[in-house]
Symmetry: C2
Subunit: 128 residues, 2 copies
DNA sequence: ACAATAGGGGATAAATTTATCCCTATATGA
DNA sequence: TCATATAGGGATAAATTTATCCCCTATTGT
């Protein structure tokens, strides 16, 4: 796997939470596991924009950071279930706060985020 | 500047907040501006691990996303002050929640984050 | 026999983000 | 005259993260 070449900053609480929460899909993984989608294949279906590979990698990191546990059932075809640890559960209110803010300001956020895209998209139509 | 080659996912509140909050230093910038460090040079002194360049880039994005405003005083040497917009202020409780969680679990987080580093650091001493 | 499902990872490419280096401008103090 | 402070950005390199592609195991259904 990839080996870090720089040391992480761990000065304050914001640095620390950043280390475990950064990753394009991690927050969504935690949330979906929280609401009951425990199996890898379910998670992949809930997050179709992420590749199988990346979800596995991020799930591995979440496990490494003790936010989730992975239970393997010795059956065929294989069955695996992820669950939040007690530690992971303490993150749920924080994630809920993030999602709620995003929901509350949905329209405005869409606007400001799409500004750049819109500017360049308009360039061509206006010239034709 | 860099031009995106893929379209962002904007399906839910978590996607939306991610778009404006992702960036290694953005949250800290918002926080420091919130607590009164308004000038670029102050921010750079408060966040010495970030390069001047990156802070400017992330401040530009925060401004583009309407979370902060930039006021230029026409004096020499130049003086600039950033402030949170009303919109930006609504993020403060969310950021506070993130930081608080990180602070509350500081020891445990340090442990799990440093696990990997520790493993490889120990390898050499143990063999000598 | 062959495809599909379930779970997983190595190798490598592409995208994205950060870091480095250098250059601009003006005023003040040594 | 030269260094320092203030603010900012272009060009490019390095680091990091995501995406793609391919391969493996074993069972069930067609």
């Amino acid at each position: 796997m990839y080996e870090r070449k720089t040391t992480p900053n761990l000065n304050c609480g914001l640095d620390l939470i950043g280390e475990v929460l950064y990753g394009k899909w991690k927050i969504r993984l935690l949330w979906f596991i929280h609401v009951g989608h425990k199996r890898p294949s379910e998670l992949q279906r809930k997050i179709p924009d992420a590749s199988r590979r990346v979800l596995n990698m991020q799930l591995n990191e979440l496990e490494e950071h003790e936010l989730v546990t992975r239970k393997i059932y010795p059956v065929l075809p294989p069955k695996v279930e992820y669950s939040l640890t007690e530690f992971g559960k303490t993150l749920i209110p924080v994630i809920a706060a993030l999602g709620q803010w995003g929901d509350e300001h949905e329209d405005r956020l869409r606007n400001v985020i799409l500004k750049q895209a819109v500017r360049s998209d308009l360039a061509v139509p206006l010239l034709s």
